[in-house]
């Protein structure tokens, strides 16, 4: 059966141990990639001919933005799996991911507005990307608020999973309606991400940062996952072996 690995992985003791074992395999490469990306992005890459050195904010802004979206999607997928197959491990994963995603969404907003000040002359522009990101931040806040409102972990898991699924369906609708809204009001359309003609000396550090941030998320997620799995486990013998009563 191809499904056996899946169920084995989802069994709490196995998941707890695997997560513990995998953490360094995410953490060290993440550190390496991020340091390499920092050297490449801050030191080696040349200044942009239009934005000067301000574009270097992109090396932390863009990967944070990527994480903010990816994490919400992961939460929704994990939530759906948890709902459909009644899998506690999937809910634990969603619970572990949410605060990480929210914090990177906040980082995206702050770095975006720090980039905006020299570029637009103001810390906040109702630019479609930033506006969508702000709304995404509200979605995260709602998700975590809903989770926190329940005392019973299982109910919190399942109710918030429904919210994440509804939210992820709405994310593209919200994003495109915001883009459409922005096009009506002729907002500034300075694109600083995904320029087609980015020289390799600029692009390579960006890619390093993307991978580095993703692995960093993985490492933090695994640590949190261990905690969330333990919180969902009641009296199992394996817990005794792991934490040593």
């Amino acid at each position: 059966m191809t499904w056996t690995w899946f169920h084995r992985l989802a069994s709490p003791p196995h998941l707890y141990r695997t997560a513990g074992r995998l953490t360094p395999w995410f953490a060290w490469p993440a550190a390496l990639l991020i340091i390499a990306g920092l050297i490449g992005g801050l030191w080696l890459a040349p200044p942009d001919y239009q934005q000067g050195d301000a574009y270097r904010i992109m090396y932390v802004h863009a990967p944070s933005a990527w994480l903010s979206l990816m994490v919400y999607t992961i939460m929704a997928v994990a939530g759906a799996i948890g709902l459909i197959w009644r899998m506690k491990a999937a809910h634990a994963l969603a619970a572990a991911a949410a605060p990480i995603g929210a914090s990177f969404t906040l980082a995206t907003l702050v770095t975006g507005s720090l980039w905006g000040k020299p570029m637009w002359g103001t810390y906040w522009q109702w630019d479609p990307r930033l506006t969508s990101e702000l709304l995404l931040f509200f979605l995260y806040l709602g998700y975590m608020g809903l989770r926190a409102a329940f005392e019973d972990l299982q109910r919190a898991d399942r109710v918030s999973a429904v919210l994440a699924v509804v939210g992820v369906i709405n994310v593209p609708i919200i994003h495109y309606s915001v883009v459409w809204w922005n096009s009506l009001h002729q907002g500034p359309s300075v694109m600083y991400l995904g320029k087609p003609t980015m020289p390799p000396s600029m692009l390579v550090p960006l890619l390093l940062m993307f991978f580095g941030f993703t692995l960093f998320f993985g490492a933090v997620l695994l640590v949190r996952l261990q905690g969330e799995v333990l919180n969902r486990e009641r009296a199992a013998r394996w817990v005794e072996e792991e934490v040593g009563a």
Partner: protein, 209 residues
Amino acid sequence: MSDTTLNGENVHLWRGERHVLRGVAFTVSGGECLQLTGPNGAGKTSLLRTVCGMAYPEAGRICWRGRDVREDLPSFHAEMAYLGHEPPLKMELTGRENLHYWVGVRRRFAAAELDAVLARVGAGRWADRPVRTLSAGQKRRVALAGLLLMAVPLWLLDEPTTNLDVEGQHLVGALIDEHLAAGGLAMAAVHHPLAVAERGLRRLELGGV
């Protein structure tokens, strides 16, 4: 002879940190009433809610007519009635209106049938008053009328005699007896023994831990 059998196998249920049901097993067949007893917190209500599919057991299963009820909850629900602690009535509506909107989504019934069940539970005189104005015992009787009107084989009753006077308690016993005689089955969580004929009565003692 009849395949109307409800059985639970090795039912385990957790409520937060509490292991409420620990491997509960039972069988009830047509013509039988299973009386659940045990101290407060022993899991009587939890077991009833697990049986009716409102709580999801960690392990074990509930079978109706030999099939796991989880396979097809809607058709299982169509054959059962659950009465909780509080009569499920809207205060702003009359007893008759309550029954209309409550049982009416399950089956059509004639006005004569409604009158007959109301008379049977002794609720005929105040069925047209808003439920808000009724006493707790009168509300309970309206709820019992709903139970009869559903005309389903399986009754799941949580403390059905709460707030009823002695006569009302005998009424509950008589209703269950008639239900069993018609081939129905019942599962009731009780504090005080039901006034039910000994013949079809079975007991399940849940231990509180």
